[in-house]
């Protein structure tokens, strides 16, 4: 057990820091969920990242990565967030579908999609949920009907983040019409501008259009857009969900930066804060550290050949609850000004805490609701019987 960075890890950090300082935009980019302009500004940032070969440092070099281990990825993420770099518009691609493709895709599929994903040429959205298949994802009804050398996709997908402006989606479809539940599902990708695809934005709690529903009406795609075997969709998607919840979706650095800003906010208002607010701030910082330690613990084990199982569900519950508590602490420091929007003349330093708070409320819902995650923990870690 050695909790010190090696000289190579330190020089990697220095390299990342120098590049970030030279390249991160000075001013924040406009939201990628509010306009095409903001979306394209973020795509341009993805291209810049890729030119520096920072798009996904753990990927093999031939796909645009650096072939580095997960500890380096954590160091990269720390420097990324430390520098205040933009949110990753291609998060669903690089952190979610990319690792899935690496594991289950054919060589042709990897060569076709991964470099373009790393370069920001293709921005990806996820098309799993349906109006009647949310927490009960196995109730998926959307169909992929075999038709010669291709499939005809039909159905209604929903809650697809980034889908309004994204280029491609990876979806869960029923390839065996006679199948039920987890069986007979396949993972198939499709271009969001294909004939028969209609994307309808859904305004979010904050008024922006971060997610969308996707209507598929006889969309024809070639069979080589199926990832993995026919009928293997469920197990592939569950592996994907493990990556998402467990490791890559929310890197610790994101929360540690928020905690740092929380302490700065607290300092500015310390005189007017009751002791319980200080205790909440302290707890938030300790929790972000605990999360970071847990991810280093997991990453060290995975680097040595271990996998990630039900602890992915544990992580997802922890970071989502921590994020809410952290933002609630910030709002309590702001007191009665917390309701003011940034443009209000009396807003002072309300900053983006309210936006962050609303976004934190989505955390216990997306990537599998926390209620479902608790079932997974109880059944797979504690051995309790299925209901």
């Amino acid at each position: 057990m050695d909790l010190r960075y090696s000289p190579e890890e330190k020089s990697f950090r220095a390299e990342a820091r120098a590049w970030m300082e030279a390249n991160v935009p000075r001013d924040p980019l406009p939201s990628f969920d509010a306009s095409r302009e903001g979306f394209e500004a973020h795509r341009a940032w993805e291209r810049t990242l890729n030119e520096g070969r920072w798009g996904m440092v753990t990927w093999p070099e031939r796909y645009g990565g650096r072939g580095l281990d997960l500890i380096r990825w954590l160091i990269f993420e720390e420097e990324y967030w430390r520098a205040g770099a933009p949110l990753r518009v291609n998060q669903n691609g690089v952190f979610l579908f990319g690792p899935t493709l690496m594991e289950y895709g054919s060589d042709e599929q990897k060569a076709r999609f991964l470099p373009r994903m790393a370069a920001g040429d293709d921005i990806w959205a996820q098309a799993w949920s349906e109006p009647q298949a949310g927490s009960d994802l196995a109730a998926v009804r959307a169909t992929a009907r075999r038709d010669g050398d291709g499939y005809i996709l039909s159905g209604h997908k929903i809650w697809s983040s980034r889908a309004v402006f994204a280029d491609w989606a990876f979806g869960l479809f029923r390839t065996d019409p006679a199948s039920e539940r987890h069986k007979g599902l396949s993972l198939i990708v499709f271009p969001l501008d294909a004939p028969g695809v209609r994307v309808q934005a859904i305004p979010q709690i904050d008024g922006e259009t971060g997610f969308a529903e996707i209507f598929l009406d006889g969309v024809r795609v070639p069979a080589d857009l199926r990832i993995g075997g026919e009928g293997d969709g469920w197990s592939i998607c569950m592996a994907t969900a493990g990556f998402e919840r467990g490791l890559m979706l929310r890197s610790p650095a994101r929360f540690q930066m928020a905690a740092k800003r929380l302490v700065e906010l607290f300092r500015a208002h310390e005189a007017s804060c009751p002791p319980e607010t200080k205790a909440a701030v302290l707890q938030a910082v300790m929790d972000t550290d605990a999360y970071a330690l847990s991810i280093y613990w997991t990453a060290s084990r995975m680097r040595a050949g271990g996998g990630i199982g039900a602890e992915a569900s544990v992580n997802k519950i922890f970071w989502s609850e921590m994020d809410i508590a952290l933002h609630r602490a910030a709002l309590s420091i702001l007191g009665a000004r917390a309701e003011l929007l940034r443009e209000a003349p009396a807003a002072g330093d309300v900053g983006r805490w309210l936006d962050g708070y609303f976004f934190s409320l989505a955390g216990p819902i997306y990537a599998g609701s926390n209620e479902i995650q608790k079932n997974i923990i109880a059944e797979r870690m504690l051995g309790l019987p299925r209901g």
Binding site: M1, R4, E78, A290, L293, V314, A378, P385, G387
Partner: protein, 354 residues
């Protein structure tokens, strides 16, 4: 950077776990209680036989020369078993404290006996209002004024202070002869006491982690068996979510405790804050886990017959032992509000530790 135990560390802990699984089950604790005892001499002899009392003493004085990460999983295993005998306090705290002062011949002589398994030394630290296992001790290390003294058992009289935990033997002491040997004073004494406090809090945290995991395990066992409305109660989400929430706390305590062990030797503001964080998190996890276990057992959970209360009481006792929540929050706060924060500071240390 490699945040994993070595195979050797895991194997050593596994040996202790196996011994405790064999000799320290709730029925063993029950047998002691029925006999009006709070310690099993033959089990203690078996533990001493393993040679672990000198685990954290340097090899130069005859110890095993191990460090905190080598011992932290052992302390966790002791918590999981609710071990009555003082392996953690003796090997984890008092013996290394004595070893750090072994330049004095009186300390060296006692240390030799301790390492030979012939004597036990205990620490009477100012952070704790009482002394654990003083009745077993040949020597007591105690602060007097700003000095650190070694008392022989003969020079003291002890008053038993009953604990809610039937297996904790607590005492206050009075000097009868006034004879003691001054082992250290000034900065040396202060540093030795601080290091002892760090180890005490760290290993109390590790034990609390073990207690928490045991409580959840007991509750899960019960929830698999107990049926209501025709089904095991563990199939209902109300029970699943109760226990899963406790397990989440445990999982996010574990790496904090292990990191605190790895950094303990740094002895700086960061490592001390980490230990305090570990103690706070572990006490919180143990509290949540034990209360969830009582609840999952229903009325049985409130009964003397079910073993849950043994762990609930150990959790309660250890939560305030080696610093209560207020003490450790204050120490954690010195790091949070007094040192740089941000994602690059997860493993920060004061400059002298690089």
């Amino acid at each position: 950077m490699d945040f994993r135990f070595t195979d050797e560390q895991t194997m050593t802990a596994e040996a202790v776990r196996a011994l405790l699984a064999d000799r320290c089950q709730p029925q063993d604790l029950r047998r002691l209680m029925q006999a009006g005892e709070s310690r099993d001499d033959s089990r203690w002899a078996a533990i001493v036989e393993m040679g672990l009392l000198g685990a954290l003493a340097p090899e130069s004085v005859g110890g095993l020369g191990l460090s905190e990460p080598d011992f932290v999983q052992i302390a966790e295993a002791c918590g999981y078993a609710a071990l009555p005998e003082p392996l953690v306090e003796a090997a984890g705290v008092a013996t290394p404290l004595l070893a750090s002062l072994a330049e004095r011949p009186e300390a060296a002589a006692l240390l030799e006996k301790v390492l030979a398994g012939e004597a036990v030394v205990v620490a009477a630290h100012p952070i704790n209002p009482v002394i654990a296992d003083a009745d077993l001790a040949a020597g007591v290390l105690s602060a007097r004024g700003g000095e650190l003294h070694l008392f022989t058992a003969e020079s003291l009289s002890f008053v038993r202070q009953p604990s809610v935990d039937p297996f904790r033997r607590l005492f206050t002491m009075e000097e009868t002869t006034g004879e003691s040997v001054k082992l250290a004073e000034g900065a040396v004494a202060a540093r030795a006491l601080l290091d002892a406090l760090d180890r005490g809090a760290l290993f109390a945290a590790a034990q609390l982690l073990g207690v928490a995991q045991r409580a959840v395990a007991m509750a899960a066992d019960y929830a698999r068996e107990r049926k209501q409305f025709g089904k095991p109660i563990g199939s209902y989400q109300a029970i699943k979510h109760l226990l899963a929430a406790a397990q989440v706390k445990i999982e996010f305590t574990r790496p904090v405790v292990y990191a605190a062990a790895a950094e303990c030797a740094n002895g700086d503001a960061f490592s001390r804050a980490r230990i305090s964080h570990a103690k706070l998190a572990a006490a919180d996890a143990a509290d949540a886990a034990c209360r969830a276990a009582v609840q999952a057992h229903g009325a049985m959970g409130y009964s003397w017959e079910v073993d849950v209360h043994l762990f609930l009481k150990r959790a309660l006792a250890l939560s305030g032992w080696w610093g209560d929540a207020a003490f450790h929050r204050a120490r954690a706060a010195t790091r949070v509000f007094g040192r740089p924060l941000g994602p690059e500071t997860t493993f920060a240390a004061d400059a002298k530790n690089g």
